[in-house]
């Protein structure tokens, strides 16, 4: 047993049961299996649509039937199948079924609330039955996306920022105090990421954008807390959070993702955080309504400030 593991076990362990198996699979195998599953699933769906074409159904009914078949097939294959490809195939079926069912219910009833309920119900069912991380993330992302769309459709204005006030603590709680019976981390990542992707482009009123960014700012400071052991560091972090929340609200969400990635030691989330950070920084400069010359000045000033931050960080490290 390696020394760090021994330190950890000495600190916490009493008599413990044996470990659950390590089911992690390399990303390239998951990627290849997913591409194959999507291609095969698309061909299968095409065959199904051609088969049902003569049944004289409305598009909504056709969507519902296809959704039920895809979801049912996905769940059955997931329960029966052993193997990486079948896992990804069942994930594709379950997620496609969820999208088709929620979409057709919305088209049929014209009720976004009904579609949201169906999306969450299917996500819960498939997540409990299949227990596949990618499936859980995708299903939760679809359900979360449907919820965001519903809230936006209601045109309450304050709805989406309020939703983020609820979603961020919920996601962080699921990540840092996870239940022991079911690994809900993928769903928690979806709960954190999806509103972030949707809110800044869709919530166009500045005060509401700031309101939506506040939970991300508070969350980032909370996640970074173990690193902010001195008052000076805490003050710098809070100042940065306030500045980013006011200037470019989306950046705060990206910084929360990076903070979560660091605390969880998760490189994939770090990659998503970097992409989100770049996207929101580019979006900020793109949206600023000034001449190219002023924009150039802003960019250089931002770069110099960031360079200063890098120098301070480097000095602290040495």
């Amino acid at each position: 047993m390696s020394a760090p593991v021994k330190v950890l076990l000495d600190r916490y362990a009493t008599d413990a049961p044996s470990l659950p198996p390590d089911t992690s699979t390399p990303w390239f195998l998951i990627g290849l299996a997913s591409i194959g599953a999507i291609l095969a699933g698309a061909a299968l769906m095409m065959a199904l649509v051609l088969l049902l074409e003569g049944a004289d159904m409305t598009p909504e009914a056709l969507g519902m039937v296809c959704g039920v078949i895809a979801l049912g097939g996905g769940l059955v294959i997931g329960l029966m199948g052993k193997g990486l490809f079948l896992n990804q195939f069942s994930t594709t079926g379950a997620v496609a079924g969820q999208v088709l069912l929620a979409g057709s219910i919305f088209e049929y009833t014209d009720s976004a609330a009904a579609a949201v309920v169906v999306a969450w119900a299917v996500a819960g069912l498939a997540g409990t039955v299949l227990r596949d991380p990618l499936q859980q993330f995708l299903s939760a992302a679809v359900a979360m996306g449907a919820t965001c769309a519903w809230v936006l459709d209601a045109e309450t204005g304050v709805g989406l920022p309020l939703m983020m006030v609820c979603a961020v603590p919920l996601g962080l709680a699921a990540l840092f105090t996870p239940p022991r019976r079911l690994d809900v981390r993928p769903a928690a990542y979806a709960v954190l990421i999806v509103p972030l992707v949707m809110f800044e482009p869709l919530v166009t009123t500045y005060p509401l954008q700031v309101m939506g960014a506040l939970p991300y700012a508070a969350g980032a400071v909370w996640v970074l807390w173990p690193a902010l052991i001195t008052p000076a560091r805490t003050a710098v972090a809070v100042a940065c959070a306030v500045a980013f929340t006011g200037l470019a609200p989306g950046v705060m969400g990206a910084l929360l993702l990076l903070a979560v990635a660091w605390r969880m030691g998760n490189r994939t989330v770090a990659g998503v955080g970097v992409i989100a950070l770049l996207a929101f920084v580019v979006r900020y400069y793109f949206d600023v309504d000034v001449t190219l010359l002023t924009k150039s000045g802003l960019l250089v000033a931002g770069g110099v400030l960031t360079l200063g931050l890098w120098m301070v960080w480097r000095r602290m490290a040495t």
């Binding site: 195998l29 095409m46 051609l50 110099v304 360079l307």
Partner: protein
């Protein structure tokens, strides 16, 4: 203590989660245990590099925007002089006894500013030169830096610039009609060969990026040859031959070294895509196509997984 923990198991966040699920870590101590598993030194280094990259990116974009504004009040020669001054300053500063990462960032900035110099020169003098020439000249001028710096990031910049120049040349020049399409894969293939020759000195991501680029080009050519009209290409079947050669080398390497399954997966994935194109083109029954595609990928993934377990 957990009996199934193998000796020398490294402490990773994934292991912490497994220990948590097994009930080893007490309630409320999950985040604390994660803090023990994390290598803060590596994360801090990575974070500092990201911040430096963000700073350099913003400053360089600011410089590009400044010249894109085409400030009429500023004489053309002054503009060119300013970029040249910035270029020389960056190049000279990269020779100072600064940390390696800073010197690398400065030289990268200088290499990008070479492109800006040509853009401003073209903007002012309206030379009417083709775009491919600008990129070719840019690539030629920064080649010595790329060769001496030995930085993969610098080589990626050089490859992007040179490949863009080559692509523009092949797309716009009549003289390029005599060049076979496979030429477009030449530079990434050279980069891949360089990686294969110096595997221990060049990072793996560079090799995987070069392999992805080569496979992307030869796969598209192969699909055109197999299901399209091969006669429309200057040199038919070179794409398929190239694909087979790259796959053969990758398989041989994976078989001999018993590692780098990422590269093998990319190669197998490329072959699968060509077969999928053939299946969709040749089989009229969608249900049969679905079954064939599912069988193909199931076999590919199972084979790769078996290789992984064995290695």
């Amino acid at each position: 203590m957990p009996k199934s923990l193998p000796p020398d198991t490294p402490l990773t966040p994934s292991l912490v989660h497994r220990l948590w699920m097994a009930g080893v870590i007490p309630a409320g101590k999950y985040a604390e245990a994660l803090d023990l598993a994390r290598d803060d030194h590596i994360w801090a280094m990575w974070g500092r590099r990201m911040v430096l990259a963000l700073a350099v990116g913003q400053i360089l974009t600011g410089v590009v925007f400044f010249f894109a504004y085409n400030w009429a009040a500023l004489p053309g020669l002054a503009k060119i002089g300013m970029v040249l001054a910035a270029l020389v300053a960056c190049a000279l500063a990269s020779r100072l006894p600064l940390p390696e990462v800073v010197r690398g960032a400065l030289l990268f900035a200088a290499a990008l500013l070479v492109g800006v110099v040509w853009a401003v020169f073209g903007q002012h003098y309206q030379t009417g030169a083709d775009f491919w020439g600008l990129f070719a000249l840019w690539a030629a001028l920064i080649l010595p830096w790329a060769a001496t710096q030995k930085s993969p990031i610098m080589w990626v910049l050089w490859l992007v610039v040179a490949q863009t120049g080559l692509g523009l040349f092949m797309a716009t020049q009549a003289a390029a009609d005599r060049l076979p399409e496979i030429t477009f894969a030449a530079l990434p293939a050279l980069a891949l060969l360089a990686f294969e020759a110096r595997t221990e000195r060049i990072p793996r991501w560079f090799g995987l990026t070069a392999l992805t680029a080569v496979l992307g080009i030869v796969t598209v050519l192969s699909i055109i040859e197999v299901i399209g009209d091969a006669d429309t290409l200057s040199l038919p079947w070179t794409g398929t031959a190239g694909l087979l050669a790259v796959v053969a080398v990758t398989v041989l390497r994976a078989w001999r070294t018993r590692r780098d399954l990422g590269a093998l997966s990319l190669a197998v994935g490329a072959v699968c895509m060509v077969i999928v194109a053939v299946v969709i083109d040749a089989v009229d029954v969608w249900m049969l196509s679905a079954l064939l595609i599912a069988g193909l990928f199931a076999a590919a993934v199972s084979g790769l997984n078996a290789c992984r377990v064995r290695s």
